[in-house]
Amino acid sequence: MNDAIIQINSPLLTIERLSIAYEPGKYAVQDVNAGIKKNSITAIMGPSGCGKSTLLRAINRMHELYPNTEVVGKIFLDNENIFEISAIELRRKIGMVFQRPNPFPTMSIYDNVIAGYKLNGKKLKRSVKDEIVEKSLKEVALWEEVKDALFKRGTFLSGGQQQRLCVARALAYKPEIILMDEPTSALDPIATTKIEDLLVELKKDYTIILVTHNMSQAARISDYSMFMYLGELIEYGKTKNIFSNPVDKRTEAYLTGKFG
């Protein structure tokens, strides 16, 4: 056993020998093994191009949007191999928030929150929809700010508000896991702090996997951290251990700003 990689007890999600190639033979992610702890924030760090987004997007099978990708290995959620269930079902259990806020420009704030239901053609009673919208917007601390503008377009909000709206949209379907790919890199420091506080709040109910370039962000809010390099998972452990006492020399070099 590799002592740079921590073993998670009774993980919610288990990544097993996962490799991903965009072109045959050229692996962007190589042989990754990791468990993800429930109700925690797991940060994925590493220099640009090391495969963070690729790994993250495999977890809800977004890589399948690129038709030539090749995947080896397994990912288990609730003891089910995610590659053996329908991608549609999977994506309702695993929500995603993107780097740049991307509310749907043709929809109101209200419709953005329930977009998951709309997209899937689910008809809900008005009262049920109202409830979901209010609850989701409250969860992301946006309710007070937008409750009088629910039927205005989401694109008129500030960047930070838009991003919280996108988190609300991901939460509305009650996913088990939320994947986030550098969700604050397009935001100013104040909006960033709000999102970080929000994530810490959300982990009571959700499990969060967060790709970040911002080491202090990972140190501040994550419970576990992964360090990837050239497609491999180099080190994985409790965040405070990784930051205070990294096992691998490459992790140490990255954390002290020597590359990346």
Binding site: L90, R92, A115, K118
Partner: protein
Amino acid sequence: MNAEKVTKYILTFAAIIIVVIAGGMAFSLFGGAVPAFKEFGIKFIFSSEWNPTEGRESYGALPFIAGTLITSMLALIICFPLAFSTSLFLGEYFKGKKIAGILGTLVDLLAGIPSIVYGLWGFYVLKPLFVNIGINEHGLGIFTASLVLAIMIIPYATSLSNEIISMVPDELKEAAYSLGATRREVITTIVMPTASSGVIASYVLSLGRALGETMAVTMLIGNANIIPKGLFGMGNTMASVIANQFGEADGLKLSSLIAIGLLLFLITALVNFLGKLIMKRIY
């Protein structure tokens, strides 16, 4: 003077020339149309008489306005399903694929074929076909012209709306996929609403193109100066009547033709302006 300034002057000069040419054209069209409007007044637009007999000369533009609007709208209706599915094919389903590249090039190639070639094809292929099927005895008329017109604007409408559809940001589509949407749901709920005003604008601009199309229509519409009697009747368009008659026209008849030209200019300008306006509102 430095090079920066010289460039600026040359460009400004060129821009002014364009404005002068456009203004001059509108002015001389207007000037040429004055006698006709003086003689017939506003009735010129609503009269369907076209009588060049000396002494009893009377001209009205209604049959041509009707012919132009009917053929263009019909062409647009015929063009829509084909152009729309092709643009979805190119801009969404097979975006960036080799097959889309080949098809896209073919579509652009079609757009480059001169109008007269479409006219010839219509005349020597469609017309006999329609006669054989028994649609009407001569194979010419509104429907024949509209069909060829539709084929002519399909490439234009396709490549405009393809561009709009492929401009829908990937991040929006990914957001929808990440919410568990299927491809069809992404297209109907995200791609279409986002692209809708641009797609509408594409068709309005294509309509603008159909309105002024002359050569092929002249060869196929039958050139009867009457308000078309039904889908397979003969008719004439504003552009065709001008092309057919300007050579032997003078006096009041020439002025009437110029007046028709002015009306066509105004209708086309309005439609194009509308298209641009819708286009502007998109992103």
